[in-house]
């Protein structure tokens, strides 16, 4: 790949090595760490749907009855209904679905409130197993049938069971590499989205919009269930008892991998040692001590509940946990060498906030070290770390709920049933919405719903593309007139 860099670009970039030459090198890695799995998930769903679409026919041959799920309890769309009927039915469906989701979320929050964490974890494991084994199995069977690839039942069952077992283990176990965990998260999202995209069309659209609105309320309203969940989790200094995608830096992606591994290999106790050494540029002693205590808390936490509750400490135990924190630092502030601790990083973020906010999300991965100083700046808020449910900047980068993955993919999958053009438009709109949400996230620093902006943009772009753009583009390009 190296010659490919050299040829189109007169001055090859030697900055790709360890010494980052310019700001450009690692800026925005955080954002991309969220966007790329979302993109992969959407691409897989589109592939799945276009693969499973009945060949050589349109709507008429889609005779396979849509599954009776929670979303079609009230009304099952049939092609002969009038638009009015469809609209009312879809509204009812969406209302029922959202109500169900809300009830389930409240139950989960209540369980979490009364500290039934064990039950919650097992429930999550069970649902992950169920999704992977039965729904994933059904989808795998459909794919195999479509590709006319014969596979005997015994082998298929063994493979499926093993894959599901690893998936279940990876959901909450800590000893699983993060890349496996992320892969399973994406797989879960793909499976559920593939399943949900079999819903009838009107129901899908109304349900997406309703869910976006619900998300808005649930995260931002003072008594919203997701908000309560997040605040509870952060007040207990605990991981969220939910399926959440974490964009921790894996060893895999892109350019920075070497620097991560080298930083990881260096000093594990860095976060504890650093504030004393490099701190004091803007903050007084008190905050440094705060920092120290927080780091100690972190360590104790890792030591104590590591086996049960910390679902996502990295492989290798407490030492690696700290090493992981440390790993975060060079990534969070682009190009900053790893001996700068949390304090200087915090300073950077503060400075950034005075600006437009355009570049802020690109640098605003606050590490755990500045979570504590942050709290002192925001006395009013009841939460104590930069947190949210849907999206979340914390020790390990931004977090995105699995539901967001699913419903983005449902939107794109629904677009894929119409045309590829709508797929691209929806994809771009969703990614733009995600980018907007990230910008907002870096400005307001608390829980943000990730669905509303993206879903609204996606739906708007879908209909704009379908109604306006397609006749235009098809009309001009079938005449081979382009511009």
């Amino acid at each position: 790949m190296d010659p490919a860099v050299g040829s189109p670009d007169p001055a090859p970039a030697p900055g790709a090595t360890s010494t980052a030459a310019t700001v450009l090198d690692s800026l925005g890695a955080e954002v991309l760490a969220v966007m790329s799995p979302v993109s992969i998930c959407m691409a897989l769903v589109v592939l799945l749907i276009s693969l499973l679409a009945p060949p050589s026919s349109s709507g008429a041959a889609a005779a396979a009855p849509p599954p009776v799920t929670a979303a079609t309890l009230v009304y099952l769309e049939s092609p002969t209904d009038t638009p009015g009927q469809k609209l009312v039915g879809a509204l009812l469906d969406a209302a029922v679905f959202v109500a169900l989701v809300a009830v389930v979320t409240f139950v989960l929050v209540a369980l979490y409130y009364y500290r039934c964490t064990g039950f919650l974890k097992n429930y999550m494991r069970f649902s992950a197993f169920f999704v992977l084994f039965s729904m994933g199995g059904a989808i795998a069977a459909a794919v195999l049938r479509r590709l006319a690839a014969p596979l005997d039942a015994a082998t298929a069952l063994v493979l499926l069971f093993n894959a599901s077992a690893v998936g279940v283990l990876s959901v909450f176990a800590s000893a699983v590499p993060i890349i496996v965990r992320q892969g399973y998260m994406v797989a879960l999202a793909v499976i559920v989205a593939g399943w949900l995209s079999r819903l009838p069309e009107w129901t899908t659209w109304i349900m997406l919009i309703a869910l976006a609105l619900y998300d808005l309320v649930a995260v931002l309203a003072p008594r919203g269930p997701l908000r309560m969940l997040v605040e509870l989790a952060s007040s207990r200094d605990d991981e969220l008892p939910a399926l959440v995608y974490e964009s921790r830096p894996t060893v895999g992606p892109a350019s920075g991998s070497s620097s991560y591994s080298s930083a990881m290999g260096s000093v594990e106790m860095q976060p504890v040692a650093d504030p004393g050494r490099s701190g004091g540029n803007q903050y007084d002693r008190v905050e440094q001590e705060d920092d120290l205590s927080h780091a100690v808390v972190e360590m104790r936490d890792v030591g104590g509940n590591w086996s049960g509750i910390r679902e996502s400490s990295s492989p290798g135990g407490s030492m690696f946990q700290l090493g992981n924190l440390d790993r975060e630092v060079p990534m969070a502030v682009p190009g900053q060498s790893s001996n700068h601790g949390g304090n200087s990083q915090h300073a950077v973020i503060q400075i950034e906030q005075h600006e437009e906010g355009e570049t802020a999300p690109l640098v605003s991965a606050s590490s755990a070290n500045n979570a504590v100083p942050n709290e002192e700046h925001r006395q009013s808020s009841s939460s104590d770390s930069p947190l949210e449910f849907e999206m979340f900047e914390s020790t390990r980068g931004i977090k995105l709920g699995l539901g967001d993955f699913i419903f983005y993919s449902v939107l794109v999958g629904r677009a894929a049933m119409y045309d590829l053009m709508t797929v691209y438009a929806c994809y771009l709109a969703i990614i733009a919405g995600l980018g907007c949400t990230l910008i907002l996230l870096s400005i307001c620093k608390h829980a943000l719903p990730a669905l509303p902006i993206s879903i609204m943009l996606g739906v708007t772009f879908y209909f704009l593309t379908r109604l306006l753009m397609e006749p235009f583009v098809v009309g001009s390009s079938t005449n081979l007139v382009m511009f």
Binding site: D9, L27, E352, T359, Y424, M469, L480, F483
Partner: protein
């Protein structure tokens, strides 16, 4: 034709873009974000254009002048979009520079600026290829192919793939030329991009004539080659005139 043919058409249109992406853009996350932004810009411009033109569509075939007006307005509009994109980029560059100052890194050097403009141009080109070629390519994955009446020598998909390739090259590299021209206030570089874009679009009008695609498509490729060559010369000249960036990088690595 089957999947192989469809993939082949897709690779004709987007293969160079893909290698540029994998080789240059994907290494720096910021460039990927630039590319996505620029793609979104192009999409929005296309949607606005189609919203304007929706009233007049479909054009009765036969007359060529509506298409001429269509391409002229489209090119004018998209060049306007390029200016807007430039404004945005300029603002972002200031922010990046001040950010670089705060973490005491060197400011954006010439290579960085060119990389950003390359990513921006690639975004435009990819969007063009995606919406004008790739999204119509679905039937090519099936068992048949498709010929347009006016162009009976080549399959429609092949023609549109080649045209998309030409436009991809033109968009990508004329963006570099244009950004550099805006930056250095060089009039000839500034007008280069609109002129090339206009000429290329007018060349696609040749396709309206019976069997015109045999002439129009190669001419478009020539246009792409001209853009590439111009960009090459310009970037060489620019590199010679200001060598500071590389020196800075060398200093940094030492």
């Amino acid at each position: 034709m089957t999947v192989v043919a469809g993939l082949g058409y897709a690779l004709i249109a987007l293969g160079p873009a893909f290698s540029l992406f994998a080789g240059v853009v994907a290494r720096k996350p910021f460039l990927v974000l630039t590319l996505l932004t620029s793609t979104l810009f192009w999409l929005i411009s296309l949607i606005i254009l189609s919203g304007i033109w929706r009233v007049f569509l479909p054009i009765r075939s036969g007359a060529w002048w509506p298409y001429a007006i269509l391409t002229l307005t489209s090119v004018a509009f998209q060049e306007g979009i390029r200016l807007v994109f430039w404004r945005l980029y300029k603002k972002m560059e200031e922010m990046l520079d001040s950010f670089a100052d705060t973490i005491s890194k060197p400011r954006l050097c010439l290579t960085d600026k060119m990389l950003i403009s390359l990513a921006g141009g690639l975004g435009h080109g990819v969007a063009h290829a995606v919406f004008f070629c790739l999204s119509l390519l679905t039937p090519a994955f099936g068992r048949a192919t498709f010929y347009v009446e006016r162009c009976s020598r080549m399959p429609f998909f092949l023609v549109s793939a080649i045209i998309s390739l030409g436009f991809l090259v033109i968009h990508t590299f004329s963006m570099i030329v244009a950004f550099n021209g805006y930056d250095e206030r060089k009039r000839s570089d500034q007008v280069f991009a609109p002129i090339v874009h206009l000429i290329a679009s007018v060349m696609t009008l040749i396709n309206l004539a019976p069997d015109g695609c045999v002439i129009g498509t190669p001419l478009l490729c020539v246009m792409g080659a001209v853009t590439l060559q111009y960009c090459w010369r310009m970037s060489n000249a620019v590199e010679k005139s200001s060598n500071q960036c590389i020196m800075l990088e060398q200093l940094d690595s030492e």
